[in-house]
């Protein structure tokens, strides 16, 4: 199962349908700052003049998002949770070409 990582279910709804939350284990989060190498940056800069999708940056954010989720899941499993509910994401651009991704949610025990 792709959506169950290390035995932890991750959803962004407040409850998991068909299951009952028995214990709240607090807020867990994972963040990461990533950047592409300078060649891709230059390529994206040239692509930017003509407009359209900047594939290098789409990839960058995809990678950093899955890393942020992986860290959040690691945090949750350290607390002994088996699910994370109400997950939210926040992005901030620190400088151009680097993205800070933050994923957070509530670690819970479900039955």
């Amino acid at each position: 199962m792709q959506h169950i990582r290390d035995g932890i279910m991750v959803v962004n709804t407040e409850t998991i349908a068909g299951k009952v939350i028995t214990q709240n284990l607090g807020v867990v989060g994972g963040s990461t700052v990533r950047a592409k190498h300078v060649g891709k940056d230059i390529g994206a800069f040239f692509k930017n003049i003509g407009g359209g999708e900047l594939r290098a940056y789409t990839e960058l954010l995809e990678e950093s998002r899955s890393e942020a989720i992986a860290r959040m899941v690691a945090d949750a499993s350290a607390r002994g949770a088996n699910a994370i509910v109400n997950v939210r994401f926040a992005t901030s651009a620190v400088t151009s070409g680097a993205a800070e991704l933050f994923a957070y949610g509530t670690a819970v025990l479900v039955e």
Binding site: H3, I49, F89, S96
Partner: protein, 176 residues
């Protein structure tokens, strides 16, 4: 005083040469790409929109309806077998030509439709990718969809790509 012969000139020279090559390339490529943007960016946008619409039709046919909704799942009576997160994103940018036109538009105020169209296409692309993600993961419905927009380059920074990142996420469910 530093003896000039004691400085290692090799790497410095290499960096200088690389920078000047980049500068020359920039000077040649910028006007060409700018012209390309001026001529083709509107057409490319239209092509992309048509592509998204046809993909959207295909995925609506697959699901039987639009799978995305911002509901939280309280309306479901049958019960849900499985659920999990789905997300997709796209980084989309207006061309420098479009930014120039938008700058002129801003002088007069009112709606800046040229940028609006670019963002609309980016958002349609992100939501369509979310549908496709849900399709490949085998979900039947996507609940609690949220769409976020973030700037790639902070507005305080002068240089850097002027692009927005559009990020859509939701919870995929399978009925059972």
């Amino acid at each position: 005083m530093v003896d000039p012969s004691a400085i290692c000139w090799g790497p410095l020279l290499l960096i200088a040469v690389l920078f000047s090559i980049l500068g020359i390339l920039w000077a040649i490529a910028y006007p060409l790409l700018f012209l390309y943007g001026a001529v083709f960016s509107g057409r490319n946008l239209e092509k992309r929109m048509n592509n998204i619409v046809s993909r959207e039709r295909a995925s609506i046919e697959h699901f039987g309806k639009d799978p995305l909704s911002t509901l939280k799942g309280a309306q479901i009576v049958g019960g849900i077998h499985e659920s999990g997160i789905v997300y997709s994103s796209v980084v989309y940018s207006p061309s420098h030509w479009q930014l120039l036109i938008a700058g002129i538009n801003q002088l007069f105020g009112g709606s800046v439709s040229i940028i609006h169209r670019v963002i609309a296409v980016g958002r349609a692309e992100a939501t369509q990718r979310l549908r496709e993600q849900a399709q490949t993961a085998g979900w039947e419905d996507v609940l609690n969809v949220r769409i976020d927009t973030a700037e790639m380059t902070p507005s305080s920074v002068k240089k850097g790509p002027r692009a927005v990142e559009i990020f859509a996420y939701g919870t995929g469910v399978r009925y059972g």
